[in-house]
């Protein structure tokens, strides 16, 4: 056992010290001068847009339309990461050149733009997509054109493509840990499930219900409710909840509905002081719109909160605010989007090539110690090992992290939960 581990340990250390070298090099003699650059013909055998000095990378998000609200943060984080990588000398001596395409909150447009990025621009990788619907639309294009996508959003799981690296959490990572926490730490026995009416909340709540009923002794689901996307009148739903008096409301309400839901909940007399509520999709971005006074005391379960207290994160928050303004907030997905370019850089350097097949083959096992969320590692199933945190919202729109899990293995096809 120890023998077989040893080589990988030394290789890991070697890689780490190599990764640190370019930083030192920029300080001394300008980037890349210490290394002989690998020839373009060696690192690109599949016709990608790689020259002796540059490599093209695509950013594909909704810049317009209803999803622009959510996706703007991801674009900003990906741009920031790419700029930082370029300052360090790029990848394999090539500067990254960003090509931005607008998916316009429309799923066929996403597929069409992805095709354009892969066929006409020959980008070496794409950072993008946000909703599951847009990812599902892009997926066949990626697989046919042999593209590579870094996908940042927490999502419902049940997917594993050789052409996608999932940098957000899949459902079980988010759900099981938070349910256990409510059960163990908060003594919750009765749960009321609420969500917006589409694939992610429905799948998530299915997992939640199975976990509550089969794995949490003595706990039960006393109600389950879904509201159409964009719904703004929650009076009746709130009355249903009141009648059942659940120990906890477990929510997956998204988008504009979030704001109406919380405001009406609080004005109906249910707030953080008398009702335990945990909503999965509330990040710092949403709280900006909801208003801190309406979520104060409620909980969210995410892998990242802006208030996370570690050196990586302090540096990340500082750099993000310097680049995008003092008022900007950073949510869970924004941080996950920031990881994409760094994971790609690491994989390309390991592979010594931009070829998609080689990059994905070298992706599992990659570790990032510098991630703002802390340590992450790529699993064989292309998802990340990560910690889940419970944050309690404050009036100023930031969260206090009240609990942190151990590193959780990603399990996109959870057995017994489907």
């Amino acid at each position: 056992m120890t023998d077989s581990k040893k080589p990988s340990f030394t290789r890991r250390r070697l890689l780490k010290s190599m990764a640190a070298l370019p930083i030192m090099a920029t300080g001394i003699a300008g980037s890349g001068s210490l290394f002989a650059k690998p020839a373009t013909s060696e690192i690109n055998t599949t016709g990608l847009a790689v020259t002796d000095d540059t490599v093209k990378v695509g950013i594909l998000h909704s810049l317009t339309g209803t999803m622009a609200i959510s996706e703007t943060g991801s674009v900003e984080a990906e741009t920031l990461a790419i700029e930082q990588i370029n300052e360090m000398g790029g990848i394999l001596g090539r500067k990254l050149e960003i090509i931005t395409e607008d998916g316009a909150s429309d799923w066929p447009t996403f597929a069409q733009r992805a095709r354009k990025l892969l066929r006409e621009d020959n980008v070496a990788s794409i950072m993008g997509c946000w909703t599951s619907a847009s990812r599902k639309a892009v997926l066949p294009v990626l697989e046919r054109e042999n593209g590579l996508l870094y996908y940042p959003t927490f999502y419902e799981g049940l997917e594993q493509s050789p052409n996608v690296i999932y940098t957000g959490q899949e459902a079980t990572q988010q759900v099981l840990a938070s349910l256990n926490w409510l059960y163990n730490e908060k003594g919750v026995r009765t749960f009321y499930l609420v969500g917006s009416d589409y694939i992610w909340p429905r799948t998530t709540m299915k997992i939640a219900r199975i976990h509550i009923e089969q794995h949490l002794d003595g706990a039960s689901v006393v109600g389950e409710d879904y509201a159409p996307l964009g719904h703004t009148s929650f009076g009746s739903m709130i009355n249903r909840i009141r009648l059942r008096r659940p120990d906890a409301i477990y929510g997956a309400v998204v988008g504009g509905s979030n704001v109406a839901f919380f405001r009406q909940l609080v004005s109906a007399g249910l707030d953080g002081s008398n009702q335990t509520l945990l909503n999965l999709a509330t990040t710092e971005d949403e709280v900006l719109g909801i208003g801190g006074e309406n979520v104060e005391g409620f909980y969210s379960s995410m892998k990242y909160f802006q208030s996370l207290d570690n050196e990586n994160n302090q540096e990340f928050v500082r750099a993000f605010k310097e680049r995008w303004g003092e008022d900007s907030v950073i949510g869970d997905v924004t941080q996950a989007a920031y990881l994409g370019p760094w994971l790609w850089k690491e994989a390309v350097e390991r592979a010594g090539s931009f070829d998609v097949a080689k990059v994905t083959a070298h992706s599992p096992g990659i570790e990032l110690n510098q991630a703002p969320e802390g340590y992450v590692k790529v699993h064989d199933n292309h998802h990340l090992w990560s910690k889940t945190r419970i944050g309690q919202w404050r009036r100023d729109g930031q969260a206090d992290v009240v609990w942190e899990s151990d590193l959780i293995e990603p399990d996109p096809f959870p057995e017994g939960y489907q």
Partner: protein, 306 residues
């Protein structure tokens, strides 16, 4: 599960209020459209965007007020509502002059043109205010709930919207049915040539009617900042419900709009309590479609001669 009598009474009271609150929201949304579509037969697809214009006006007033001190953040809403009316009113007038008046004889083209206008306004909002949703801080006297008994919580912002709806509705009814201006509007809609012949400036009647409808939409937008957030595309969420209320009520009659908003709100709210939100919406829509198939003119037949 067992519920005590008190529980059920409290829930019934709160459920009744939830229905009334939804009713006032629907009515406030639909009033402006009832004026424009009902009186002028102009299908204004940009109605939702005029509401958003009012909401952003409120947001701007609140942002400016927060710089003036705590008393300003408490009472900015009292200034924001008239300003929201004014901005939507003036912008509506501008649109009438530039666009709508050229299309009075081509109702289907107004549909297309105002839809285009809606897209332009959405992009305008996005460029000016950004893609993220915003919400002005709620004054503390509008937060929280009123508790007549320990079991019952009546949201204060819901009551505030209700009061506003009553005031606006009475104002519109008075304008349309009790004032000389309303008489001129109704006569113009009944017979444009005759009205012009007796000396009514029908061009100004059109302009003011359209602007008034937009202004009322602006008030609705200002009120909604109390319950929901505002984004560039929020208007698209409102437009369907708004048309539903006006068409179901029977275009051309304000009382039809009131009754229709009441029926839809109470019906949907009660169904929501028993079936959940998504099923309630589906059921409400099916019932409305069935009724409209039997009564294509809506609940109240329009008394306008054509």
């Amino acid at each position: 599960m067992d519920y005590s009598m008190q529980d059920l009474m409290a829930i019934t009271a709160m459920q009744g209020f939830a229905g009334l609150s939804f009713f006032s929201v629907l009515l406030l949304m639909a009033l402006g459209l009832a004026i424009i579509f009902g009186q002028m037969r102009v299908i204004n697809m940009a109605h939702g965007e005029f509401m958003v214009l009012g909401a952003y006006t409120t947001y701007m007033v609140s942002t400016l007020a927060s710089g003036l001190g705590p008393w300003a953040t408490e009472y900015y809403i009292l200034l924001a509502i008239p300003l929201a009316f004014l901005s939507a009113f003036l912008f509506g007038m501008l649109i009438e002059v530039l666009m709508i008046r050229h299309l009075y004889h081509r109702p289907l083209d107004t549909l297309l043109a105002t839809w285009g206008l809606a897209l332009v306004m959405q992009q305008g909002f996005r460029s000016i205010f950004g893609a993220r949703e915003v919400s002005p801080s709620t004054p503390s006297w509008l937060e929280g709930s009123w508790r007549p008994t320990p079991m019952i919580d009546i949201p204060i912002n819901g009551m505030a919207i209700m009061v506003l709806t009553v005031i606006v509705t009475l104002g519109v009814v008075w304008l349309m049915y009790r004032s000389r201006w309303g008489l001129r509007v109704r006569s113009t809609m009944a017979s444009r040539e005759m009205s012009a012949a007796v000396g009514i400036n029908t061009r100004w009647v059109d302009r003011l009617t359209f602007a008034l409808g937009c202004g009322v939409a602006g008030i609705a937008g200002a009120a909604f900042t109390m319950i929901s957030s505002t984004g560039p595309t929020s208007g698209t969420l409102y437009i369907v419900d708004t048309f539903l209320v006006v068409v179901f009520g029977g275009a051309g009659s304000i009382s039809g709009t009131v009754v229709s908003a009441f029926l839809i709100a109470q019906g949907q709210s009660i169904l929501e309590f028993f079936l959940g939100s998504s099923m309630a919406k589906v059921t409400t829509l099916l019932v409305i479609i069935a009724i409209l198939m039997m009564r294509p003119e809506g609940l109240f037949k329009s008394k306008v001669r054509r």
